[in-house]
Every structure is written in C-alpha cells, then in structure tokens.
Symmetry: C2
Subunit: 431 residues, 2 copies
C-alpha cells in the first residue's frame, strides 16, 4: 500500500508542474495532504519483529526470550536454547491444537508442522486463538498468519489436508519422515507428534502412522460436554498404543449417541481447552528439554477439579500389527537398555566417589535409575476394562469394534515370528 | 481510510472537470485507477462482526455462541445466557490476567473491568495474548483493542492505573461500586474480582478493597520459576482473607531473595500461565453460573502434574480490621443462614414427597444441605503454619511482617465491639 501511495504522490507532483492555472494548484496541494495522511495511516499497520539469531538471556524489555532463558538460570532446564532444534507436528488445529501451537511458538520451538483441513467459522470464536476476521480462511492458513507474526523465528509448515484419506495419509507420513530441518536427527524427522483431533478415526490414523514410524506421540481430548479432558503419552512398544486399549476419558456421563441427532453440536469452552493445551505443551516441554516428570496419562475433570493419573502397558493381543512389531523390538532391546542404564549408574557413582560424595542412591541429574522392566509399576493398569482407576470410564468403542482404516502407504508388515513374541510376552507377564 | 479515499476520488473528478488541457486528463485517469486499487486494499482490512442481541443456540457455523449454549442443552448449565448479566473485574492484565480476560470475552461475559498500568514489551511475548505489534501500548489499551475485535458484545472498561497508589485505590474502589451496568444488583457493582497481579503489595490492596466492600474474589499466582501456580477463592468473613494467613504457593524450592539481584528476572511460561488462567476462569464460570464445585484452593505443580487442594477458615486474630468486621457479620448471620437452608430443604422435601420421591437425603439441584458451621471441615487447615497439606509451603512473608498500605479511601472502621467478637469466635472455636 505504501508503494502505491508513493507513486500517487509522484503523479500529483508531476501534474502540479504541468498545470498552467494556479487556482488548480490549491486542489493538488489538498490532495497531497490527503496522500500524506493515508501514508501515515498505512504505516500504522503492524510490522513484524525481525528474526533473532541466538536466544539471549539478557534482561531487557526488548528481548522476547529473557523470561524463557531464565528457566535455565533458575535451574529448571539445563539448556533452554536446545528448543530451537526440535520439530513438533500438531494434528488438528482446533480448540486445543491452535493454543498448543501458539504456546510452542511463543516458547521458540524450532519447527512446527500443522495439519488440518477445516475452515475457521464464527462458531469457533468461543475458543482461544482464531479471530472473527479470519472466518472463511483455512485453519492452517489462519494459524500460519498469526503464528509467524508472533514469532518469526519458528519454521512453520502448513498441511491443509485430511490425514484419514489415502492421499492425506501419504503426505502425512512423508512429511513426518522429512529430515531436511535437522539431517542428523535419529528416527523420523520430528521429535513429537501431538494429536489434537476431535474424533476416533483420526486418532487411529495418528496411532497407525506413529506405530509404523516408531514415533513417540501425545494424544489429547476434550469431552463432548466440554467439562473434562485428558492427555496421554504413547511410546510405541513401551506403553499401550491407541489400539491396545479402548481410549479413555474422564467420566462425563454423556451418551455419545445423544450427539448424533440433527442440529445438535458438542459443547466447548475456552477454559477446558486452554487447560488441556497447557498440560499438553507443558508435558511436551518436559519431554523435549528433559526436566520434571512426563505424565503417562493425566485427566482433567473440571466440575470437581479432579486430575486422575494412570499408565498403561502395551497389549500383547493388540490388533495393530505395527504395535506388535514395536513391542517385540522393545522386549528384544531389554538387555541393551539394562547395560546402558548400569553403565550410566556406575559412571555416575564413580564420578560421585571421585567428588567425595556418597556414591549410591544419590539423585542423578536425569532421574534415571536401573529398574527391572518386569516389575509391575505402581498404578499401572492391565488391559482389562475392569481395571480403571476411580473416576475413569471408557467413552469410545474398543479398538476391535472399530473398522480400522487401511490407508495406502500403511505397511501391512507381517510379523515374522508372532508366536515367538507371544511366548516372550507371556513369560514376561508370568514373572 | 476508506472515507479519505472517497474524498480523494471526488477531488480528482472535480479537478478533471476543471482541466482545459485534455492531455492532463490521462494523468488524472491514472490516479483514479490508483485510488480504486487503494480502496480495494483498504477494504481487505479486517471488519468486526456485528453485535448479537440474544444468544442463540442455533447450530450454524455463523453463530459464535452455539457451542456455549450447548452447555445448557447438555445439562451442565441451567441458564447459560445469564452470563451476559455479570460483571467481572480483572486486576493485572499480564500473563494470567490477559488470558483470563480473553476466555471470559469469548464466553460472552456481560462486562469486564480491566486494571493495569504497565506497557506491552517484547519480553512479554513468551506468554499468550499480546502481539509484537502492540509493543509500547499500555496493556489495558492493547487488551481492549484485541478483546473488542473478538467479541463486540462484551462491555469493556479500561483502567490504566496502579491500584497501590492513593489515587489509583480510590478509582479502583469507586469503579467496583459503580452499578450503572445492572442497577438491580445487590452488593457492589461487580460479581467477582480476579486478582492476577504479580506481587504481594497489590494482592494486599485487592484484599483490602474486597474486605471493605464485602466482595468475593479469586486470587491467582504463578511461581518465580514458572513451573507452579495456584488459584484461591476468598469470601470475606467466610474464608480466610489474604491477610488472615500467609499466602501459599506450591513448593518450588526457590528462595525469593535470589530474585532481587540486579538484572535477574523471573521465568515465565505460556503453559503454566495458560493452565492457571484456565483453572481460574473455569472456577469463575462455575461460581457465576452455579454448576460443579468451586475450588477453595487449587495448586498446580507442573513438574509432577500434582494438584493440591485445601481450604482455610478466617483467622479471628487477623490484622485486617475490615476482615474482622466481615467475620463478625458472618457469625451473626448464622441463624438466618440456618433458617434459610432448613426452609429450602423442607420445601424440597415436600415437593419431592408430592412427586412421590423419597423425601430425605436426595441430591438437591444446588447440592445444598444444612451443615453445622461449627463442624470442622475435612481438609481444612487451621492458621498454624505447621498445618499445611503435603506439597505446600509458604513462599511469601506472613501478613504481619508486611507494612500494610494505608491508601486514602480505606475506611479505618473501628470495631465497636471487638471484645464481643473475640468472645464469640473463641466460643465457636472451643465447641
């Protein structure tokens, strides 16, 4: 706009020169004042801040990272600036996903991959993030617009697609595998996938992709009556996958079938979604930056401010073939894990001894200790539907009742030695 | 801008008519094209949605309230539209207060009163809400700009002032007492005060104002190391006031004195602040719309996802004179409360008997039952510093160590019969 106004001013000046009648010059002068005023108005339109090369801990008002770098100075995080190395994929840019994306953007995450196919509607204005002037834009475009203005340091990738379609799933998988952002990265190209979708089918597709890629992810959800929600950590082979056990939400007492009637929509609140997004991203930060304890499952029941926790082991009878593969790998890698943990503990013990400290049972920096994988964890649930902690009920159908989508690109990996895996797992459970 | 461009076009047309030289008309025509283009550009600038007269439950994409009215249809809230009658004051438009204001705005609250004196800085960009282009604006102005675009139905009042100054406290008090928004309202002009400030002195000033006005309020806070926070409900005379007991935060292990050094700032995270704002506004909605259970105190310790709860009775030796007045009133009003509760229970019992239900011990709609005020509550803490639940420690100095501000306008109400009150309270505690 400023370019056009500059050209306009030039036009006026040349016209003024060409005029022979001095009475008309006053009219040109007046227009010149108008153009000046318009230029001033155009300049008040927001300008973006420039990119920052290194995160500074300097305590000045103009530093967008001082309050984050303070986490390091205060001993919460060992190296906050590592956040710039990480890639996080957010599937579903709705009430939870959009706020999660904004939080990670403000925290200075390296790269965000955003997936959605929906458009912004006025009906979304009761949640945080989207604004009325964005109505009609795709959620991914609107998010990129807002997020890039908030923090130009974050690399944003926008995928306007439905991951439950064949084409969408293929793009989803290949985008997760892309390592151009950090070529040295082990595993897939992203560090964490956050599922912020609102339906069972999409969750099962995220589960399929993550099981195939051996990709750790976090699931989130809010109940149809808007007053409860949950987050869950899923590590292929190590924890239950989304198909291992029927998905859980905090008891809400609402019959899902009552929502299917014509013209009836689910309720939603910015508060519940904001809390769930906050818990999700807080656990994401703990996971990526290695501080605190990452919750395996955390519920939020807002009517009573009740926060149930639990953890679930994988189901040896899981219907998902890729999950069984990951379970097998996890069991086979046990001796290597034990050796690594033992070596680490010994190294720390000798370092502590060298420093004159008490060598054993000290808290180590990463809170890692050698534990027997076979030992049953406290508060661990089996896969029996009767074993849920107080306050939790199943809201969705069990995985077996669900017609599993078969997107092309999904590898139907045959388990070479399923019987062998079963025997190992049975032996494990029997101990 | 569009007005200016229209005038510009008129100028050009009249100039064109006055020109005798046809060769100059081409130059005018070219400028006319430019103005048309600028008008088009100016029109692409966001427009605000129009105000809504009544909240509709209609399920269409263009209805900003459908997902909130669904709370009513799903049996969570009896009458959601009542939200438009309520006034909420938010003191401190920082990391927690700004997000709380956005949540209440999106929920369609009737009226918001916003208090702050600070300006937006780039150092605030690690929390939600403010945007880089708002740097340099006062936080109240920037908030009003954003909130009025999000929901023009909310009545916004902006107070750019420091409540801890004499002048600021006077304006604060008179603004809380203003009943022009809803003249029929009992008590003060607002339904709830949310304290979202970041220091002890400002909290004590909010406490003073609310004790004087007999105004229920909620306090919120985030620890200096950014990984824990809390909310607390304060009802003058009924619960502990902020001066009754030293303020609490979840154990963080950080010595406040270490923060006072030159150039050292507190850490902050959008996640912790988003969770605290979500818990605060969720409890505000429960309080205003009468659903669920309002938490008297709820902590959030993010390293372990631990959420301690507790409640505190008022301290009969509180150093705040207005608090002692409210305590006295509360004790004296006990017979009236008992009678009202008994009458309500009897009315419900007879209604239930008429309907053929079991008359006694049924759950009543508001979960109200006749309880003996003297009976010690479960999980209630005394005012002894040794009586805190696990995981809670005091972070700030006790009220007595604080030099209480004496703003003009603060009524130094002499307790007429303090000895009488003491006797009553002693008798109460002895039972």
């Amino acid at each position: 706009m400023e370019v056009e106004l500059k050209e306009m001013l030039d036009d006026l000046l040349s016209l003024r020169k060409s005029l022979s009648d001095p009475s008309l010059r006053a009219s040109i002068d007046q227009m010149q004042v108008r153009v000046d005023r318009l230029t001033h108005l155009a300049k008040s339109v927001p300008v973006r801040r420039t990119k920052v090369k290194d995160m500074s801990a300097e305590v000045v008002d103009s530093n967008p990272y001082s309050r984050l770098m303070a986490l390091q100075r205060m001993g919460i995080v060992e190296n906050y600036e590592r956040i710039r190395e990480f890639s996080v994929a957010i599937v579903g840019i709705g009430g939870v996903g959009s706020v999660a994306a904004e939080m990670l953007t403000r925290c200075g995450i390296g790269r965000l991959l955003l997936y959605d196919y929906d458009k912004v509607e006025l009906a979304n204005m009761n949640r945080l993030f989207f604004r009325p002037e964005q109505v009609g834009m795709t959620k991914t475009d609107a998010a990129v617009q807002t997020l890039s203005d908030i923090n130009p340091d974050v690399v944003l990738e926008s995928y306007t697609l439905n991951i439950t379609t064949v084409q969408g799933f293929e793009t989803f998988m290949s985008s997760l595998k892309n390592k151009t952002f950090r070529s040295s990265k082990e595993g897939s190209g992203v560090d964490l996938v956050l599922s912020c979708v609102d339906n069972y089918e999409a969750r099962m597709v995220v589960n399929q992709a993550c099981n195939e890629l051996n990709q750790t992810w976090m699931e989130s959800g809010v109940s149809e009556d808007a007053v409860s929600g949950h987050i869950q950590l899923l590590i292929p082979g190590e924890t239950a996958c989304f198909a291992c056990a029927p998905p859980l939400v905090v008891a809400s007492g609402v019959d899902e079938r009552t929502l299917k009637r014509e013209g009836v929509c689910a309720a939603s609140l910015p508060t519940t979604m904001g809390v769930v997004a906050g818990l999700l991203v807080q656990n994401t930060l703990k996971f990526l930056l290695g501080f605190g304890h990452v919750s395996p499952y955390l519920g939020y029941s807002s009517l009573k401010d009740f926060f149930p926790t639990m953890s679930m082991k994988p189901n040896p009878q899981c219907s998902n073939a890729a999950c069984l593969e990951r379970q097998k790998e996890y069991v086979l890698a046990k001796p290597a894990r034990d050796d690594a943990a033992k070596a680490k503990m010994e190294a720390e013990a000798s370092a502590a001894a060298a420093a004159g400290d008490v060598p054993l049972h000290v808290d180590n920096e990463w809170n890692i200790s050698v534990v027997d994988d076979n030992e049953p964890e406290k508060r661990t649930c089996g896969t029996s539907s009767d074993a849920l902690p107080e306050g939790l009920t199943r809201e969705l159908p069990s995985a077996d009742e669900f017609q599993k989508p078969q997107p092309s690109g999904a590898t139907d990996t045959a388990i070479d030695d399923l019987e062998d895996l079963r025997r190992q797992l049975d032996a494990l459970n029997a101990k």
